[in-house]
Structures are given as structure tokens and as C-alpha cells.
Symmetry: C2
Subunit: 347 residues, 2 copies
């Protein structure tokens, strides 16, 4: 077996592209009422999911997404070689509690809202290299846990700025399999571009779109340079959760680098809520890009409406301690190329 | 190229074992005054390292370890394919800030104090699979940042229980290279066993040894089962930071599983401080196992005094929020087999 081929500085082309065998998006009520409501697998009306704390509720979301994803792929936890998971909570406890239930080898990741793409890239590498047959990736976020941890508890009712984004309550899960599962694959992951940490000096935790846009532009431009392609190679370039503010900025930054992509670039943070939902600059959180990718975009690929996507999840790598100490917000973006199955999706 | 071979449920045998090209351990004053003081690369007398905050100081430790490690291996950051790093701070900001300086593709990890072994296992997989030629692993911890975040700020002067451990101030870094660098290798990583999350219901953040011992026992026993070996296959089994309390427990748990290893098993948390240093149950933190492994144990391998080690770093996957909400402390342990170079070390 020939393993991944390195292209350029930051990109790997999988020689035995891993396939997506199952994907699940579970969201909260507000997300379910948004424009993509019809695409999600499950909408949870109770933000506590019957649990006593927001944190337990978030871990429950993750567990539900993981279990449903395995079920859809006709697998049980014991089939999985590795669980790659992460979330926004301090010490990624939602993921650790989920890993305790699943009882499979666990590699905890932290890439903030870029975690789903980081996991897909890493899972793809492990499968392409022959180190795993099946890898489960999952991520979560929860509006109440995130606001309390990063900004103010929502009970505080502090006024939100217009650049602020709304942390998505939800969880996304994807199970990746080796190319031997190609027959039942929904789509395949053919390349990955791993991002560097970029920091343009933004210090406002209520303007994460501005903090993350430079990382997204850096990774997209690097991917195009590494592969010697034009953006039109893709039917869509999908950023994670830049929101309306960050999307404008990434388009400007890409234009400065010579790429005009306003009609190609879609942002999951902008898509998940509509203007009437008072989410200000859009959605954010690990679950934002994960749930939109695992539902809307994957279904488009399966239906053959789109052939090839560049999925670029972005993460703001700050903590409440770091910004209270006056530090700026470093960001990262990881990208994966996802293509429809050559002979149509498996389901 | 043939990639890693899966052995049993959780173990991978590298077919092209990655080699350790450089390793660095930087510690604080207290660690430098301990029994291993003579083995460390650098001892920092100033716990703030000239910075304004403990968190910046921790990130500085990480950056210094990373840079010195690359320098010792005659490399520059741009040579490295991936930086795999993690720490204990919320949102692993010490690692993100370090990644910003190094400017290479960054995969953030969270495995608490098991992070060095997690990174070595993952780095080994990426190299063995041909996805990378050079991977830099680094981790850090800092007594002041950890106490403030997990328990009480040290200015509070709260009395520590006898089961409490002392978070090591320090950073460890290892650069792994593909087998094509074997000539200059100090040692090689031949296998990895990735751990599951184990939770025996311990809820006391001042007794992490008890929380982590079951995870260490689970991974060690699984490794022996997967490889069909006896513990005596190794010259030493090195646990991360169980301390005196956790070490007693892991020995008991392993005895229940049929393995008597009291003379083989050494714990980095027990080794790093001596009784006179008032560290109670021993050292802890990501940097505990990392600095002891990167100095004392690696030097023993290089000198040929030992041939083959099982390095088992353990992590307590809790957050202050989770234990304040009454949750128990899930734990994980990842193991790597590290062997001396067949013809002696490179330096």
C-alpha cells in the first residue's frame, strides 16, 4: 500500500481515500428553527437534554451523535479503531465523558471550532496510512456552556455586540472507513491541508470572525498554491464559522492574494441562522461547521448536486484567561477536500 | 512502504520505526533542585521567565523547549511537517501561542498529563505511514497556572492534602524523524498502545494518582495482552505521574490482573522530587513525565544502560467545572515502546 503523498508545504493527497460511512448532525431548538432545520438528523427541544447541567447536556449531545452515526453506518463502538473528538469546554470534558461511554482508544483534540476538519484530516491520515480501518470523529458545542465559559453566563443578559456570533448548540459525528468500505461510502476525503496558527492582533472575543478570517485565507491560499489549482476546481469552498463579518474579511484577504471567490465561498456560520433569529454575525462553535457539513453539504454531495468541496473549518485559539490578560486571539484553519463517490453515494 | 501493523485491540507496531532526533527537558527551580536536577537541559530560576503572567511564562517554557530541541537536532522550524502540542491550560493556550511563533502546521492535542505519549504515538503513526518526515512533539505545565486553574491560586496558601501532587513547572520536547534519519537517532519508537478512558469514580482533584492508576493498569495490561508478552520484556515500565499513591494502586491493579511488576515499574511523579521537597504524593502535570522521559530515561537508553522501555503517560481528564458539578475524574493512559538504537545512539 502506498501512503499519502505530500504536495507542497502543507497538503497531503490520500492515495487510498478514506470514505465517509456515516454522518450525523444533532442540533438545538434555535438551530432547528433556522434555514437548515430540515437537513438535521435530530433537533433537541430541551437545551438540558434532561440533564442537570449544561455541560452534561453537551456531552449527551456528543454521545447521541456518536451513537447515531455508528448506527447509521451499521457499526458498534467496538468496531472503531480510534475516537478523535474535541469540544470547546475547558479540558474538553464533553469529549472525555463521551469517550468514557464509548470505551474505544481515544485521542483528544483541541482545535476550537476547527476540530471537525482537524479530526477528518487526522482520521484520514491514520486510515490512509493503514493504522486504522474505522475512525469516529465527533465534536460538540453548546450555547449556554460556551457563553458562560468564554463571555458571560446568559442569565446575566449582557447586551451582545453586532459582531458577536451565536454559539451553536449541537454535535456532529462522522465515521471514516478505509477504501475497502468504498461500496457503502457516502463521500470520500481525498486531501487535507493542515493549517498554521495566524494572528492579526484581534483582541475582541466578541469578534471572532475577524480573528479567524486571516487563518482561513492563509489555509485556502496555501491549499491552492500546494495543489496548483484555481478556486473553480471546487464547486464550493465552505468556511467554518466566520459569520457575516469574517466572511467579508476572508473574501477581501483572498482578493489581496489574487483570488476572487465571492460566489464560491459559503460560510456555515452565515448559513445556520437567518436574520430574523437575532444571532447577529452568525453561528459559531465546533458544532457550527460540523453540523452544517454533516447535513446540508454532505447531502448535496450524495445527491450529486455538487462533486467536490473544500471544507475549511476555522478555530479561534484563545481562552478567557488569555484575552483578559490582553493577549490577541491566534487562529487556525484546517481544510479537507471531500468528493462525491464516483458511482454515487451508498445510501 | 509497508505501514504500521495492528496487533491486538489497541496496539500498533511501526514497520519503519520513527527515531528520536532530539529531546529537551526544561524545568523550574524546584524540579532542578530535585534528585534528577543533573539530567535536565535547562533550569529556569525565575518562575515568570521574565514575563508578566504565569500563562505567558508557561508558553515561553514551551517555546524554549521546542527551539532548543530543533537546534539540538540541527533543524529549523520550517523543516518540521507538523507540530503536535498540548498542555493543561484552558484551550491549551500555551501550545497555541507556541504554534504561532513556530509557524508550522499545528495539531493541538488534549490528553492532560498523557499528552507527550499521545503525541509520540500520533507522531509515530504519521511518520510510519509516510505522511510526515519530521514531527515536533511538545508539552508544558506550570505549577502556578495549574494550581490557580484547577484548585486554588497559590497566594491563597490553602493546605495541601497528603494525596495531592505538585504540578511540575517545565516543558518537554521531542523531534521524531522517519527511519531515513536512523543514523543520527538517539532512540526509536517501535510500538504504540492507545488508551481507552477509564473511570473508577474518584472525585477528589487532590488525589489524581488514584484517578489515573486504573487507566495506567488498563493500558499496560492491554499492551501485554496485545503483544503476548510478559512485563520482563522491558527493562523498565515508566508511568507518567501517578505519584506515590497512584503507583501503589497501579501495582495492586496489575497484580489483580496477574502481573507482579514492583521492581520494573518506575513513576516519573515519584522520581522528580524527593521527600524533603514537600511535594507530598509527587510530581504531576504534562511536563512531569515529559521532562523525566526526555532527560533521565532517554539518557539511559542512549548510554545503553537500558535497551527497551514501555513509557506510559497518564492523564486525568477533568475540569474544575466537572468536579465542582460532582462528576468523577475519567482518565486515560497512552503507551509507547522506546528502544535504544541497534548500534548505539547518534550523539
Amino acid at each position: 500500500m502506498v501512503a499519502s503523498k505530500r504536495i507542497g508545504q502543507q497538503t497531503l493527497a490520500f492515495q487510498n481515500p478514506p470514505v465517509i460511512l456515516g454522518a450525523v448532525a444533532i442540533v438545538g431548538q434555535k438551530e432547528g428553527e433556522g434555514p437548515l432545520g430540515g437537513f438535521f438528523d435530530q433537533i433537541e427541544a430541551d437545551p438540558l437534554l434532561g440533564e442537570k447541567t449544561w455541560e452534561r447536556a453537551e456531552s449527551r449531545l456528543l454521545q447521541q451523535a456518536a451513537n447515531l452515526c455508528l448506527q447509521k453506518a451499521d457499526l458498534v463502538p467496538g468496531d472503531v479503531d480510534f475516537l478523535l473528538a474535541g469540544d470547546l469546554l475547558n479540558q474538553i470534558i464533553a469529549s472525555s465523558f463521551c469517550a468514557r461511554e464509548l470505551n474505544v482508544p481515544f485521542l483528544g483534540l483541541y482545535g476550537a471550532c476547527s476540530t471537525m476538519a482537524q479530526g477528518m484530516a487526522l482520521g484520514g491520515m491514520l486510515i490512509d496510512g493503514g493504522m486504522a480501518e474505522l475512525v469516529l470523529n465527533c465534536v460538540s458545542s453548546h450555547h449556554e456552556t460556551a457563553e458562560r465559559q468564554y463571555r458571560y453566563p446568559t442569565e446575566f443578559a449582557s447586551q451582545r455586540t453586532q459582531t458577536a456570533q451565536w454559539t451553536v448548540t449541537g454535535a456532529g459525528a462522522i465515521v471514516l472507513g478505509s477504501s475497502s468500505f468504498a461500496k457503502t461510502g457516502l463521500a470520500r476525503v481525498t486531501e487535507a491541508t493542515l493549517g498554521r496558527v495566524v494572528d492579526y492582533g484581534i483582541k475582541d472575543p466578541n469578534n471572532m470572525g475577524a480573528a479567524m478570517a486571516p487563518a482561513a485565507a492563509d489555509t485556502i491560499a496555501q491549499h491552492l498554491a500546494d495543489t496548483d489549482r484555481k478556486p473553480s476546481h471546487y464547486d464550493a469552498i465552505i468556511t467554518g464559522d466566520l459569520g457575516t463579518v469574517g466572511k467579508k474579511l476572508v473574501l477581501q484577504l483572498l482578493e489581496q492574494k489574487g483570488w476572487q471567490v465571492p460566489s464560491l465561498l459559503h460560510d456555515c456560520g452565515e448559513m445556520i441562522f437567518d436574520a430574523a433569529q437575532d444571532a447577529h454575525a452568525g453561528g459559531s462553535g465546533c458544532a457550527c461547521s460540523a453540523t452544517v457539513f454533516c447535513s446540508y453539504w454532505l447531502k448535496k454531495l450524495q445527491a450529486g448536486a455538487l462533486k467536490r468541496l473544500l471544507f475549511v473549518a476555522t478555530g479561534a485559539l484563545f481562552s478567557p484567561t488569555s484575552y483578559q490578560q490582553g493577549e490577541s486571539i491566534p487562529s487556525v484553519a484546517h481544510a479537507v477536500v471531500v468528493e462525491g463517490m464516483p458511482n454515487g453515494g451508498g445510501s
